[in-house]
C-alpha cells in the first residue's frame, strides 16, 4: 500500500475497501473482462450478507473455472456443464449452505442446458450467474449458441448463418417461461458509452451489484435465482476493450434486452 504524504491514514475512513471474501490474487482474465467485475460483485454480496463461512462456490468449466482462486469460499469443481446438478446435490445434503455458480454461456447454455433447465424446473434453491459473452472465450473464440447472427468466429468464418445453426438461444427467456425459478434477471454488465461524450456510464456494474445481492436473498428464502450478465470478450471478438463495450451495450443488448423477467418473491421491491 502506498503511503500518502502529509495526510495520515487515520484521518481517512475507508468508503470502499479490501474484501475478506477475495483472496487477493491477481486474476488470469484478459484486460477489461467482465468476469473480474462479477467476481468483485459476488465477493461484495457475500461479505455484505456475512455468509463467507457458509457459502460454497461450484466452479464451472470455461474462463470462470478459476473463480475459486479469487473468491475466498469453499469450492467444488463440477464437470463441464454439470454445475447445476452438483449444486442441487450439495444443497439437498446441506440446506444450510448457500450454493452458487458462475457459468459461461458455452458451459450453461450449450453443454449444460439440460442440467440448467431441470434444476430450474425443480426449483432447487440455488443461484446461477451466467456470463454471456456470445462466444467460447477460453477455447479460442468458437461459435456459441448465443452468438448473434452474422458474427465472425473461428468456426463461422463467413459469419453465423441462422438458417443452418438456428437463432441465438435466449437462456433468460427460456427460464422465465418455466414455473420453477423465483428470480430471473438480465443485466448488461459492461460500462456503456454515454451519447456523444467520451464518458462511459457505470450503470451496468452498479445494477449488477444489486442483482447479485437479490439473487442470494432469493436463495436464502428458498427460491431458484438466475441472473444473466451480458458481457464482452474483446480478445475473441477481435476488438479493442472500448470497442467491445460499445458492441455489447449497443448491439448485444438489443438481442438480449436487459430487465427483470421474473420476481416471484418480490425481492426487487425491498
Amino acid at each position: 500500500m502506498t503511503v500518502v504524504q502529509g495526510a495520515p491514514a487515520a484521518e481517512y475512513e475507508v468508503k470502499l475497501g479490501r474484501l475478506s471474501t477475495l483472496t487477493g490474487r491477481p486474476t488470469h482474465y484478459c484486460a477489461g473482462c467482465e468476469h473480474g467485475i462479477l467476481t468483485r460483485l459476488v465477493a461484495n454480496a457475500i461479505e455484505e450478507l456475512g455468509l463467507r463461512e457458509r457459502t460454497v462456490l461450484v466452479d464451472s468449466v470455461g474462463c470462470s473455472v478459476f473463480a475459486h482462486d479469487y473468491i475466498n469460499t469453499d469450492a467444488v469443481q463440477a464437470p463441464h456443464g454439470r454445475a447445476p446438478a452438483v449444486m442441487s446435490g450439495i444443497k439437498r445434503v446441506r440446506p444450510d449452505l448457500m450454493v452458487f455458480a458462475v457459468q459461461g454461456d458455452g458451459d450453461a447454455v450449450s453443454i449444460g442446458l439440460l442440467e440448467l433447465l431441470y434444476a430450474a424446473n425443480r426449483a432447487e434453491p440455488i443461484t446461477i450467474f451466467l456470463v454471456n459473452n456470445a462466444i467460447y472465450g477460453m477455447t479460442g473464440g468458437q461459435m456459441a449458441p448465443t452468438t448473434p447472427e452474422g458474427m465472425v468466429t473461428t468456426t463461422t468464418p463467413q459469419g453465423r448463418d441462422v438458417a443452418e445453426t438456428g437463432r441465438p438461444l435466449d437462456a433468460t427467456k427460456l427460464l422465465a417461461g418455466l414455473d420453477g425459478p423465483s428470480y430471473v434477471k438480465r443485466v448488461v454488465l459492461p460500462i456503456a458509452p454515454m451519447g456523444s461524450t467520451d464518458l462511459y456510464s457505470a450503470r451496468g456494474p452498479l445494477e449488477g451489484a444489486k442483482s447479485v445481492l437479490n439473487a442470494f436473498k432469493v436463495q436464502m428464502r428458498g427460491g431458484f435465482s438466475f441472473v444473466e450478465f451480458v458481457s464482452t470478450c474483446s480478445i475473441n471478438w477481435k476488438m479493442s476493450v472500448l470497442e467491445s463495450k460499445r458492441f455489447a451495450t449497443e448491439t448485444l443488448a438489443k438481442l438480449f434486452p436487459p430487465g427483470l423477467y421474473k420476481d416471484k418473491l418480490g425481492v426487487e421491491k425491498g
Partner: protein, 83 residues
Amino acid sequence: MSRSATPLQKSLVDVDSEFCKGCSLCVVSCPQRNLKLSESFNRLGFHPAEFHYHGEKGDCTACGICYWVCPDFAIAEVRRVRR
C-alpha cells in the same frame, strides 16, 4: 509512485499498480477524469492507472465508480476524509 497528496485532499483512490492490466475502464468512466494511464510500466508490462486528485473536470468526490468497474481488483480502496 507519482502521487503527491496534501492534507487538503478530501478523498483518495488507492491503485494497486501491480494488479492493473491497463484496460482503462476506470479512466473512461471516471466522471471527473481523475484517473489516467501511467507512462511507466508495471511488472507485468502494462501501463497501470494512476490517480490524480485534481482531475480534468474537478476534484475526486470518492464516488467509487472506479472501484466497481475495475475487473482486476486494482482499485483497492476508496477513502475519504473523516468528518
